[in-house]
Symmetry: C2
Subunit: 453 residues, 2 copies
């Protein structure tokens, strides 16, 4: 079945209007970690969906509201889109070339916090829907959207929502929030996400900071306690030392290894883009690097803070220290087991004084590469990108895909507007307009094919 | 020789005027680490000294100016006062009960940044001079002041100044910037200071922070590098692991041990005041704790900073990390050897990527407890405090006393207005007015006795 050229024509001519909508969407800060602008952004999301004839419900939570939308199609067969309207904090602000919440176009690239993660994905999907509805009276299939506002803070309220609304969310397949191309502009299909357990470690050793000349030889020092506790978790050999941490790690399957072996080598690109001298664990590149990148669980220090951090010297012994630590988890590790294992580890090593604050967790999950919906999405990409879509069995990031897969029992695929230089979570987050258009073309093809053409 | 009661009478009746002068002095911020207000404060110091008939010279340096003042007395015998007008940064501001640069009196205690370290000491000395000059035409001895503005940043320009101005600074004895009473309000004579080497460690592993889902398994992490480098310096056994670090440590002499054994136990007071659960190294109190407190060199993390430190979670892999570290040194460790030893250690342990930034150093130094000037100061304290002055051979803090002792070859003693709850370097720094008066009375007696009565 050949694709309706009028849909592509609409996308080609109306690109600017869609980008304008994305500008306004990105100009609205929506930082879940700082509870900033999330209600305003939820309302904006609602009105954007209503504009396309969706019936929308906004579900309040203890944090950001969840926006649900549905529009019936020619057939009952239902495609579910999962997106999020929240963004990462923009700090460090001084590294942005243009302000994070003032979307700025430079050389065909749009810069703004959230433009790639995840607002551009959502508007490109709406743009695809616009193009179909400009040419057809009805959607080819029923479409549902779940747009949450806490993806960047481990989707703390989503599981409860999906569990209690499973009838409302019933669908046959799901397209995930992200997707896009690799370093060679080849489209990539990500079939899974690692899990995560994000904690803050906190220790207090005195009721105040003390002159280091007084306490240095005899008082406990919160910064040292934290350093030693962290070092007990992982040494420079990169092996995580928590008893039982690796117990549930499933060996990488032959099918996954084969898929990973087909991916292009990213070592050179990573080194250049991030200014790396090399990789850890003696890795140099190739399939070994690719597999290690996603199929190994991690223990990453995301932030450290203690004592004096200003200019010059201040001779104090800090009374308090904090570390933000994320553990990325692979199948079949269970996020709910991480904090108990960590607590036991710290206690066993004499760090009963280190408090663990749970900042959220998500399970790892992978869709079967042989699911027919995966094939549909891969085939739809061909004529858009001029290159066959590469299948990546697992991606290094995390998200609440396990919730949907476990509760709704549906395959989840990726298709989107991202690229490796998108600087997600970093300063100068951006999106390429050419990939935005292609992403919308791809989504339009998926919807058409899913509804039967 | 009995002391002139009119001098004490002056001090008793004019206390308020001196405190008003101290208010204004503390209201002037003078943060050397942040280069804030130091020139203004130097000018203020100059005018305060000129008001007392001193001839003043202000020496410019690459940092804060050094104020030198001299007033001839009845005899050529010269007493040198060393003070500093700079203060520690006031952060964390939220812990101050009143703003750090708005001096506030509560229940006979004056709160302000710098009031105890070291502005109150200087004004109390001027107050003693006022009292003498109100009753006598001339000073009993020649008095010189060196008031520097970089004591809190390791007196980086002082050594050069003392070396090049040794004729100008010629004196027979020196009274140090600090001094005061112990937990039992008993006056204490500190005869020495530890040395210090203050460094900032810095590491950069990439040109930007990276999404932790991407780099966590394969990219170097600056925060982890810093944790491992720090842990290589000192483990939880508190033993500093740098080769050669302890080589020049002189065993504690019998004379020092005897003097330390006469000091009251501070364990209970420390625990209560700082909310400690206990001490490190299995220490519980007594002479053992006292000796460990000052006669052991330290490696103290004063500050740690890396990655995301805001509210909630941000999943990044930090590209940069910094640690502020001070090493307190005991006789006969040499500060100039510490950075080379540290560099060699880091290189040996695979941390060539950790940069060392030198933030200043000072040598340890002790005055002979049997020097006649020490005896004069101890005897002068008796009738002021109603308790005999305790001699402490070494104090845990640091300062540029070695410069004066080595170059000018003079004994250095302490006599001042401090107390153990003064919160030097911490929020709510303070000074007790009753001790301010006593400090001035003591100084007046020392000047009189030194000049021959």
């Amino acid at each position: 079945m050949s694709f309706n050229p009028l849909i592509d024509q609409y996308l080609g001519t109306q690109l600017d209007a869609s980008i304008q909508e994305l500008y306004a969407y990105c100009a609205q800060p929506s930082i879940a970690a700082q509870k900033l602008g999330v209600h305003e952004c939820a309302a904006m999301t609602r009105s954007m969906l209503e504009k396309r004839g969706f019936s929308v419900q906004v579900f309040q939570t203890s944090g950001s509201p969840i926006v649900f939308a549905e529009r019936k199609g020619r057939v009952d067969k239902t495609l579910l889109f999962y997106n999020h309207y929240d963004v990462q904090p923009p700090e460090p602000l001084e590294l942005w070339l243009s302000p994070p919440f003032e979307p700025t176009l430079r050389d065909g690239v749009l810069f703004a916090r959230g433009v790639s993660d995840d607002k551009g994905h959502l508007t490109s999907r709406l743009f695809a829907i616009d193009a179909i509805l400009a040419n057809e009276d009805e959607l080819p299939c029923t479409i549902k959207f779940v747009v949450e506002g806490e993806e960047e803070v481990s989707s703390v309220n989503l599981e409860h929502f999906v569990k209690t609304q499973r009838e409302l969310l019933k669908a046959d397949a799901c397209i995930w929030e992200s997707g896009g191309v690799d370093f060679n502009d080849r489209p990539v299909q990500y079939l899974g996400l690692r899990g995560i357990s994000y904690v803050e470690l906190h220790v207090r050793t005195a009721n105040q900071d003390v002159h280091s000349g007084l306490g240095g030889s005899i008082f406990p020092n919160a910064a040292w306690r934290m350093v030693w506790a962290l070092q007990s978790l992982k040494g420079s050999d990169e092996r995580i030392r928590i008893d039982g941490f690796y117990d549930d790690v499933k060996p990488v399957s032959e099918r996954s290894r084969k898929l990973m072996a087909e991916l292009p080598d990213t070592a050179g690109e990573y080194k250049k883009r991030y200014g790396l001298n090399g990789f850890i664990k003696g890795l140099t590149g190739g399939t070994e690097l690719q597999i290690e990148e996603v199929f190994t669980p991690t223990c990453t220090i995301c932030g450290l803070t203690s004592g004096y951090q200003g200019e010059g010297s201040k001779t104090i012994l800090p009374s308090e220290a904090r570390a933000k630590v994320d553990f990325r988890l692979v199948p079949d590790q269970r996020p709910e087991s991480i904090i108990p294992l960590l607590r036991a580890h710290l206690d066993k090593h004499g760090f009963e004084d280190i408090e663990i604050i749970d900042l959220g967790s998500e399970a790892p999950a992978m869709t079967d590469p042989d699911d027919p919906f995966v094939q549909l999405v891969v085939e739809s990409a061909g004529d858009v990108y001029g290159q066959s879509m590469q299948i990546v069995p697992l991606s290094g990031g995390s998200g609440p895909n396990a919730i949907f897969m476990d509760i709704l029992k549906i395959p989840i695929v990726s298709a989107g507007v991202g690229h490796p230089g998108a600087q997600a979570h970093a300063p100068n987050e951006n999106m390429r307009l050419d990939l935005y258009l292609k992403g919308a073309q791809h989504i339009a093809r998926i919807i058409k094919a899913f509804g039967g053409g």
